[in-house]
């Protein structure tokens, strides 16, 4: 058992709207107890919401026979999470930039941008169905 983390969790979520909210609350509760607050806490909240809801909606397409696998580790100054869905994956580089003049009014496309803004590191596997994110407290 690693001493590097204060609390780690592994679980699967059903592919239903909102199925990620209890886990999100659980993770945020632990971060709060470890002293995370302000922009750091907010940024993790955003990354959790966007990555988990993407996996449920875009990845597993709300298909009840598919699950989202989550592994998450928290510490007073570090956060790490891996979210894997059973979808076809996607190529992040090919997503249109919603900050462009045309993109500005598009209803979607902001989740990945927000994740990149708040996380210290963001990686996808080659298939694109698994995102791994980490944040060092106080860093983007």
């Amino acid at each position: 058992m690693s001493e590097q983390w204060a609390w780690t969790v592994e679980t699967t979520l059903p592919s239903r709207r909102g199925a990620h909210l209890p886990l999100m609350d659980e993770i945020l509760q632990h971060l709060g107890e470890l002293g995370w607050d302000g922009r750091d806490y907010f940024g993790v909240q955003m990354a959790l919401e966007e990555s988990l809801s993407n996996a449920i909606r875009h990845g597993n397409k709300l298909d009840d026979s598919k699950v989202v696998r989550v592994e998450c580790k928290v510490h007073a100054d570090r956060f790490w999470i891996r979210v894997e869905d059973e979808g076809q994956g996607f190529q992040p580089a090919e997503v249109a930039d919603c900050r462009s003049a045309e993109g500005l009014e598009a209803a979607g496309g902001r989740g990945m941008l927000l994740i990149e803004a708040y996380m210290t590191s963001v990686e996808h596997n080659p298939r694109g169905n698994c995102i791994t994110m980490a944040k060092v407290r106080g860093e983007d």
Partner: protein, 117 residues
């Protein structure tokens, strides 16, 4: 005016002042409802002056941003005016990262907004 569940709606002179009932705008069902309630503010009636006060909002997802963007389009279609106020620093950064500060007119507080509406 209908009874709303996700919004609190008040009049200040000719301006409709709207605050949010939820501190976290994240639940899909609530976001759908929020959208419908916002649309109802401009649907049917003529041009309106609208002020959205974000003081109670501590978190909002990108899905909620999507709804606000659709609402802004409806506002323009109805030739109404919309100003957002009292946005917390964390939420303001979300608007900045996504460049929505370019799409929305934003003022510090209600007084500043009422002065130009």
């Amino acid at each position: 005016m209908n009874t709303f569940r996700r919004l609190n709606v008040n009049r200040s002179g000719t301006v409709t002042v709207v605050t949010f009932a939820d501190s976290k705008i994240i639940d899909d069902g609530e976001i759908q409802e929020l959208g419908q309630e916002l649309y109802a503010l401009v649907d049917g009636g003529g041009p309106q002056k609208l002020l959205l006060n974000f003081s109670s909002v501590e978190f909002l997802s990108s899905a909620a941003l999507g709804k606000l963007i659709s609402f802004e389009k409806k506002v323009r279609q109805s030739k109404s005016e919309l100003i957002l106020t009292n946005i917390r620093p964390e939420i303001y950064e979300v608007f900045a990262i996504t460049k929505l500060t370019k799409l929305f007119k934003i003022k510090d507080d209600e007084a500043d907004a009422l002065a130009v509406l």
